[in-house]
Symmetry: C2
Subunit: 321 residues, 2 copies
């Protein structure tokens, strides 16, 4: 699969071992087979990691199946089992947390830098649509990034983001490779499944075209635009910040003169992140107020979490008590 | 309505006459009543324009109704009637074209600069969702602009884009002002109605929140981001263009050094628009090729409509035969 190879090469993932999360579903089995094929040309050594969330009585069978698949391909396989029981609500978030903790443990135990997960272009489209329904800005619209830093030693890569679910299945069909069907994928209580099995088909059937491809294209554009804004914001902030401690920042507001509102707002987000000030409680209105304050157009302001701002001449001071 | 007043003041629409498109539906009747109220504080003089598309047998009644509403408010009223009959397909596009031609005629006959239409925040959300389903970039995601230039003498303003349809109706209820129901608003053959009456309710009912507000917020962000990219593109292009005739442009590709891809691509769009080269046939891939060519990383390229590019040293030449 050229798209997968291209993603790996773009991020210089070669000449090293790589942990692959394999549930046993079509996408992850396909990714494993592709990475096995790339073993020689990219000098990769795939290490299979399978996590049993214990969400179904027969879930251990998936692990045995994945284990035998891995050994057939000559790959090492690590099996993990959830140590806590699923909560009554927020099952998806819990499962993701547990799974990623396991993957990071695998990587650190094996001294591996890269962890690959098998998200497809359809997963990306579903993520974007989910964000759209839930309410999102440009960054949420960008969907899942191809690469994300998990810790000082581990990075996540999604080399299949450019490949459709159908293409993954077709590839498996060509190989005569079977896979496991996860019955939880049709459980309509999970938002992800409702997006996948109801919202996307509804839009496709009613408006005569599959929205997935458009959503993925849009997410690429949104990612590019968000990166440009971020880069400009970083540059403006560098000029603007005069003094910085964990609880206080002195800013020359003239550095934002002629800088577009969207960039000043992004600079605010960046500043809050660097200061580790609470961002979750910041509404769109609160960010707009932060931007106005950074420009020096308001005298005094307050934000969630005890962050306050006072203007002193051409200088604005932000501090957290 | 403060949001409507704010939009008008932001664009300095005051001390002058203004043409208002009034179908007789709730939104346009509400806008007319609001503009009437603002007649004194903003020194506006509303001129009502109603267009009969002749899409229904009883459509002339709407015109009589709007005419009597206008005279009750002491406003001049111009009635127009479609001179051509609706095509069998593309009725919505035809109706829009005919209506806007009429509005521009009204404005130029009365020597008026501004034309107001009553699009609401819900219309904006529907537009954005429509673009999303159909496939769109950042610019399409921005939805309808608040202000748009129609000709050298006429500008369109949508002062109600920040007001929900529900708020318009509540306002009318408070005044005891009636309005006309347009039966074509429930005709599911029109895409707009399918978005309004099916897609939005489906998403709201299935996922427990109205996507309209999120879509409008996102459209504002997308508009801001697109404006920033456009501004940067304009600046880069200014540095890059050495010589320009209607059929040929000489460009110093070094001007794009260090400029982000998204901005170079936007510069391509801008260049094509200025040269009046065909843009409709340009796919996302074609724009990407244009960006790579502008950077000087390809030797020769071809695009739709006979546009060709050749590299000569650090110079790239684009021409149309």
């Amino acid at each position: 699969m050229t798209a997968v190879r291209h993603a790996l090469e773009t991020h210089a993932v070669r000449d090293q071992p790589i942990v692959i999360a394999v549930s046993g579903g079509a996408d992850s089995v396909a990714l494993l087979r592709i990475l096995s094929e790339l073993q020689d040309p990219l000098a990769l050594r795939p290490i299979v990691a399978h996590f049993d969330h214990r969400l179904r009585d027969d879930s251990a069978e998936d692990g045995r199946w994945v284990n035998s698949l891995a050994s057939g391909l000559g790959a090492e396989c690590i099996l993990g089992v959830a140590q806590t029981t699923a909560p009554s609500t927020g099952v998806e978030a819990w499962a993701r947390r547990e799974r990623y903790a396991f993957l990071q443990t695998c990587a650190s135990r094996k001294n591996v830098r890269w962890i690959a997960v098998a998200h497809s272009a359809d997963d990306q489209a579903e993520t974007v649509l989910h964000h759209l329904i839930r309410g999102t800005g440009l960054r949420g619209l960008a969907g899942m990034p191809t690469v994300r830093t998990l810790s000082s030693t581990a990075r996540l890569i999604r080399p299949g983001l450019g490949v459709s679910r159908a293409a993954f299945r077709e590839y498996l069909l060509g190989l005569g490779q079977s896979f496991r069907e996860d019955p939880s994928n049709t459980d309509g209580r999970y938002t992800r499944n409702a997006i996948r099995n109801e919202a996307i088909p509804f839009l496709r059937d009613r408006f005569g075209r599959d929205p997935s491809r458009s959503l993925v294209k849009l997410s690429v554009q949104a990612h590019e635009a968000a990166s440009v804004l971020q880069r400009l914001a970083r540059r403006a902030l560098k000029r603007a910040v005069l003094e910085q401690t964990p609880d206080r920042v002195h800013i020359a507001s003239q550095a934002f003169y002629g800088v577009p509102d969207a960039v000043v707002q992004e600079a605010g987000v960046l500043l809050w992140r660097r200061q580790k000030w609470p961002r979750r409680e910041m509404s769109q209105g609160a960010w707009k107020r932060a931007a106005r304050f950074l420009r020096g157009t308001t005298q005094a302001e307050q934000w969630p979490g005890g962050v306050r701002g006072v203007k002193r001449g051409g200088l604005v001071v932000l501090e957290r008590s």
